[in-house]
């Protein structure tokens, strides 16, 4: 896969990316608006619109809808859609950064043990502890697990002097195996009927979203986005190989570790509020590079945009396909995303 091909940013490329960028932005806004009218409760679009308008610009007019319906639109669906967009943007962006930093097209946001750690934390909360800290218990435990696993990976990398991308990734894989084994042990010791709850969390979803869930992923995305964009030259250089990066004045080992840690941190926040959602972080950057080339100045924001669009759409599918029940969104991204990507590959081969 010669997909990572950081070309010097040219005006032509930027120009070429403008139209697709506008199209994707329009699609994202359209999908978010349409998504507001979708769900297990049937609410006419006009009513959804009026509820939103009354919240944004209160006119004092008497509402003609039931309070429960207003709560569905404003307190459940809107935060849920925003969460899907935030998580999609975060995973897409981190995926792009991770692939550049490791120069590995198979790198995804869950490198460095983030996934295994998050699952361990979530299992502990869901199976053995319960919501002792309120509804935030599972997210907090999952985040702590992700962070803990990442720290272990980093200290092992330091201890063994593993600063190359390959060795870092392998450390992550090794730690993941150990942590996953521990997570499975927790399932074994748990109530049989609760074990399914863990699967449900792990496969990902936005059903638990409400306004209180949004600040953490929003801050993570904003901070992470600013950081990666500021360091886009580092990432571009790393993607060209360690020697080239060194000649460009990048302290390779340090920069790689830093960016991968930042990525793991952002992913930890995302996974803690949404569970494990595959495909987005791994594939979005590839789709994006097919269109805008390899310069991270374009790839990072475009991956965020496309990732957001993808998860908003995936969430619509997850809410409608077996309504009123939710299909875990990770299942949707895996099936739909995988097939879509194969199609893209075929089209490109044909064109």
């Amino acid at each position: 896969m010669a997909i990572i091909e950081p070309a010097a940013p040219t005006r032509a490329r930027r120009h070429r990316a403008l139209l697709p960028g506008l199209v994707v932005t329009a699609l994202l806004l359209g999908a978010m608006a349409g998504s507001l009218a979708v769900g297990s409760a049937r609410i006419p679009f006009a009513e959804v619109r009026d509820i939103l308008l009354s919240r944004i610009m209160p006119t004092g007019a008497a509402p003609y809808w039931k309070p429960g319906i207003a709560a569905i639109v404003w307190d459940l669906r809107l935060p849920r859609i925003l969460l899907a967009a935030l998580v999609g943007a975060g995973l897409g962006m981190v995926g792009a950064a991770m692939q550049s930093a490791t120069r590995n097209p198979l790198a995804d946001p869950y490198l460095l043990g983030v996934a295994a750690g998050a699952v361990l934390g979530a299992n502990l909360a869901i199976l053995h502890v319960g919501d002792i800290l309120g509804p935030a218990t599972t997210p907090l435990f999952a985040f702590a697990g992700a962070l803990g696993a990442t720290l272990i990976v980093l200290s092992i990398a330091r201890l063994t002097g593993s600063t190359t991308a390959d060795r870092l990734i392998l450390s992550g894989v090794a730690v993941s195996f150990v942590v996953t084994a521990c997570a499975n042990l927790l399932i074994l010791f748990a109530d049989q009927r609760s074990a399914a709850n863990v699967t449900f969390w792990t496969l990902g979803g936005f059903g638990a979203a409400d306004w209180s869930v949004l600040p953490a992923p929003a801050v993570a995305l904003a901070a992470g986005g600013a950081w990666f964009l500021a360091k886009r030259r580092d990432l571009n250089a790393l993607a060209m190989g360690d020697e080239t990066a060194t000649t460009l004045g990048v302290r390779v080992a340090r920069a790689r570790l830093l960016h991968m840690t930042a990525g793991a941190f952002i992913t930890g926040v995302m996974v803690s509020v949404s569970g494990m959602i595959g495909f987005v972080g791994l594939m979005t950057p590839h789709l994006v590079r097919m269109v805008v080339g390899g310069d991270n100045r374009l790839v990072l924001p475009a991956s965020a945009l496309v990732g957001a669009l993808f998860l908003v759409l995936a969430d619509i599918v997850s809410r409608t396909i077996i309504a009123p029940d939710d299909l875990p969104v990770g299942v949707v991204t895996g099936v739909v995303g995988g097939l879509f990507f194969v199609l893209m590959l075929r089209n490109r081969a044909g064109g």
Binding site: A41, G130, T138, D191
Partner: protein
């Protein structure tokens, strides 16, 4: 079976008496004061008796039905056919209930239906970290009462007895303002359980293996499950009562080593019993179990072994099975 027949008329009579009690309560429902009861480790307050309650699956819904609360319910969560098949014989009013959602509910469904109370439990329609939890529903003004037996799943280790069932029924009675009905229902249950206690007095405690699911390890009911309480009330001992937890797993070696006096099988329907019998018959060690060779096997349904009004009949059946004409 005799216990079941004896139970019915008295139950009907009590329900009739309770109905009269309700008529009295209804007149004062307008100025009903807020009611607060304990639910797992928190207090839940209901400002007025719920009018659009929802309960999770068959055993919890049967508690609502036993309290004759159909007219206070928006419907139930769970599998429609299973619910009808299991509930109708004792509770014909189950046919009036509407299915709200088949799987675990989401908040959107509950809000859209205007639900004002949710009776559920941990792994009975709620999961830790999920979108429907007492705290998450409280934000929308929907109080939740948690099934006492399920509290163990959020870390509250209390040894179950039939008091779990009584407690839940009495608490529901207070929440819905039908205390009299709940009191007489529970009093009737206590009398039947007392009758069982007298019958089994002085008899040896027999070891029972509860066979929930086959596999590489035995799926069974642990120390904190309702079956442990039912078996004890019937003069037996759940052989897995030293394993903590609700529905749990133990090794088949432990079952073989213990060689229990009797086996109780949980019947999930759809050829489930056949599968379990075949499993025991095919396994060396298991087919040599005394209980299997002597055919000391009792089959009980899901609603009899999970917390619900059929627990009392289950105790009578188990007592008869263990200490009847042997």
């Amino acid at each position: 079976m005799t216990g079941l027949r004896m139970g019915f008329p008295s139950l009907r009579l009590l329900a009739g008496l309770a109905g009269a009690g309700l008529a009295l309560c209804a007149t004062s429902a307008g100025q009903a004061a807020p009611v607060t009861v304990r639910s797992c480790d928190r207090m839940v307050t209901v400002t007025q008796p719920p009018q659009r309650a929802v309960s999770y699956d068959s055993n919890l819904t049967e508690m609502m039905l036993a309290l004759d609360l159909t007219d206070r319910m928006a419907g139930y969560i769970g599998h429609r056919d299973r619910m009808r098949a299991s509930a109708l014989d004792l509770f014909p009013k189950a046919a009036q209930l509407r299915q709200i959602q088949r799987g675990y509910p989401n908040r959107e469904t509950l809000l859209g239906e205007g639900v004002d109370f949710y009776f559920a439990g941990w792994s009975y329609g709620m999961r830790a970290g999920g979108e429907v939890t007492p705290e998450k529903l409280a934000r929308f003004g929907i109080p939740v009462y948690e099934l006492t037996e399920s509290c163990v799943r959020i870390g509250r280790r209390e040894k179950p007895t039939l008091d779990f069932l009584y407690r839940d029924l009495l608490n529901l009675g207070r929440i819905f303002g039908v205390e009299a009905r709940a009191d007489s229902l529970v009093a009737g249950y206590r009398r039947r359980i007392d009758a069982v206690s007298r019958k089994i007095a002085g008899k040896p405690r027999l070891d029972v293996f509860l066979f929930d699911s086959p596999g590489r390890v035995a799926g069974t009911a642990g120390a904190h499950s309702m079956p442990t309480a039912l078996i004890e009330a019937a003069g037996g001992r759940n052989m897995a009562d030293d394993t903590p937890g609700n529905w749990t797993r133990i090794s088949w070696e432990r079952v073989i080593e213990r060689d229990p006096d009797a086996i109780i099988m949980m019947d999930f329907g759809q050829g489930d019993m056949r599968r379990k019998m075949d499993f025991l018959a095919a396994r060396p060690g298991l087919r040599e179990l005394r209980a299997f060779r002597q055919g000391r096997i009792l089959t009980l349904g899901y609603n009899e072994l999970t917390p619900g009004p059929r627990n009392v009949t289950a105790v009578e059946k188990i007592a008869e099975f263990l200490h009847g004409d042997h």
